[in-house]
């Protein structure tokens, strides 16, 4: 508008992202001070330790996590919820700074709800991941730490995206995030098949997190298990991590017994007589 241009006033754009968040870099720091360095030297010590995992298979997406919230050497909460529902068909596993994760998930929930109202249908998981990574990449360099796997079921079927607070956005079949992720990846890579049954998938997820809690100091407590189906997400179970691990340790004894029985039925071939 002509008058607008003269007064240099910018009308708010309704199509843009609507979060009323302060501009990235808008910190009250002393003049000449650079926010990232300031945070590193003076900022709160944020520690992140967790094991979360998610994988997609024929019957949906499984999300599992431990429940230990740690702050350096202190267990702040042994029973925290690390898998956050965004809407009926979308879950997010959270890793990194708990506060950052919960805040950004609330922002994402709001964005998705607004778009659902405008368009008449929920955005796809790919869109949600894109929105989240775009929102967070504006705060790059300011020590945001959110490493999350978005698990959902949309028009294209089961969908899984990994989003990191520097703006990384990856699509994949298996993701594990957190300090316990190397241990979980080992178990997952061994047992994953796209055509698993639901029970096999539950067992695999529980096994992976239990093993990670056994070795990683920052993971423990219980194992939460979620399943996203076509009809929406479902909270499958919460099992104590130590109990789970002990039960898994019992299984090899059963295997050994089976081997013994098998060898009795089919005796090993006798060594051939030595010929002089």
């Amino acid at each position: 508008m002509a008058l607008q241009d003269v007064c240099k006033w910018q009308a708010p754009d309704t199509q843009e992202l609507s979060p009323h968040l302060s501009q990235a870099g808008g910190w009250a720091v002393p003049r000449g001070c650079d926010p990232p360095t300031f945070l590193q030297t003076q900022g709160p010590r944020l520690a992140h330790g967790t094991t979360t995992l998610a994988f997609r298979f024929r019957h949906g997406v499984i999300a599992a996590a431990d429940t230990r919230s740690s702050c350096s050497n202190y267990v702040a909460c042994p029973a925290s919820r690390k898998v956050i529902p965004v809407h009926q068909h979308l879950l997010g596993t959270t890793s990194g700074t708990s506060a950052d994760c919960t805040t950004w998930y609330r922002v994402l929930q709001r964005e998705l709800r607004l778009r659902a109202l405008r368009e008449g249908q929920l955005p796809s998981v790919a869109s949600a991941a894109k929105l989240l990574s775009a929102m967070m990449s504006r705060y790059r360099g300011l020590d945001l730490c959110v490493a999350t796997a978005l698990c959902g079921w949309d028009r294209s079927g089961p969908a899984l995206f990994y989003v990191y607070s520097d703006g990384t956005r990856l699509q994949g079949d298996i993701f594990s995030v957190g300090s316990g992720s190397p241990y979980a990846y080992g178990v997952l890579d061994r047992g994953y098949r796209y055509d698993m049954t639901t029970q096999e998938a539950y067992a695999l997820a529980r096994c992976a997190v239990a093993h990670a809690t056994h070795r990683d100091a920052y993971s423990g407590g219980s194992v939460d298990l979620f399943h996203v189906r076509e009809s929406g997400w479902e909270y499958v179970s919460r099992n104590d991590a130590w109990v789970l691990y002990s039960e898994l340790q019992k299984l090899p004894e059963l295997e050994e017994q089976e081997e013994k029985e098998a060898s009795q039925v089919h005796p090993e071939p006798a060594t051939p007589a030595q010929s002089w």
Binding site: M1, A2, L3, Q15, L17, R115, E119, G120, P123, S124, A126, S127, A129, K130, L131, A134, R155
Partner: protein, 250 residues
């Protein structure tokens, strides 16, 4: 009465009219006819080509424009206004893809164009866009869509519609002839669009421009030859229908 209430368009007249918007609709009625048809697996856009001067390059006059791979539009009214709207719509299609990874739905981009037009009916110092648009395309779910916008910023979905000069005649023709059989297959839908245009276009197929989108395929503009083929087929059908009629009466 009207003359006192049409200077600044932000002002309503005492009986509730926005006269500038209505005058814009008059400008649309002066533009060359455009017709849109929504078939079962195809959407068709046809426009009347205004005859060009001898020295003018015909190819620079384009009334059917692609907004994205799966959406296109035709307009009636002021060409310059249309150019601005089309540009903004094209940018919005790509911005949408960048922000949410999905291509726009036909309804979304129609709503965007309509909102843009409405903004210009509620600003001081600006006049409304003098165009009506027919927007066609397929959504991700494979359903064909046809929408029409007008200078006031309203939009509606249609099965078949016409805008521009003699739009009323064409619309009446469509109301009579748009049946399930008429759009049974793609070719029939194309023929219906051409027949509708031939009602009002002088000098036949030479002055018609046609474009189609089939499901999961990009926009296809018909060449003059292809249009001629369709027109000849239509004329043959007409002759045969005439013969049958005369046989019956005898």
């Amino acid at each position: 009465m009207a003359s006192r209430y049409d200077r600044a368009i932000t002002v309503f007249s005492p009986d509730g009219h926005l006269f500038q918007v209505e005058y814009a609709q008059e400008a649309v009625k002066k533009g060359s006819t455009a017709v849109g048809i929504r078939g079962t697996n195809i959407v068709v856009l046809g426009v009347e080509k205004k005859s060009v001067a001898k020295l003018q390059d015909e190819r620079t006059v384009r009334k059917i424009c692609a907004l994205d791979d799966h959406v296109c539009m035709a307009f009636a009214g002021l060409t310059a206004d249309a150019r601005v709207v089309i540009n903004r719509a094209r940018v919005e299609c790509q911005s949408h893809k960048l922000t949410v990874e999905d291509p726009v739905t036909v309804e979304y981009i129609t709503r965007f164009i309509a909102t843009l037009k409405q903004k210009y009916t509620q600003s001081n110092g600006r006049r409304p866009f003098g165009i009506s648009a027919l927007i066609v395309g397929f959504d991700d779910d494979g359903i064909p869509r046809l929408y029409q916008t007008d200078p006031s910023g309203t939009y509606h979905a249609w099965k078949a519609n016409a805008i521009g000069r003699s739009a009323k005649t064409v619309r009446e023709f469509l109301e009579k002839n748009y049946t399930e059989d008429a759009i049974a297959n793609d070719n029939e839908a194309i023929k219906l669009a051409i027949r509708a245009l031939l009602e009002v276009v002088q000098s036949g197929g030479k002055n018609i421009e046609l474009a189609i989108i089939r499901r999961n395929q990009p926009l296809k503009m018909f060449s003059a030859k292809e249009i001629e083929l369709q027109v000849t087929a239509i004329e043959k059908e007409k002759e045969e229908a005439e013969k049958k009629k005369s046989k019956k009466t005898v």
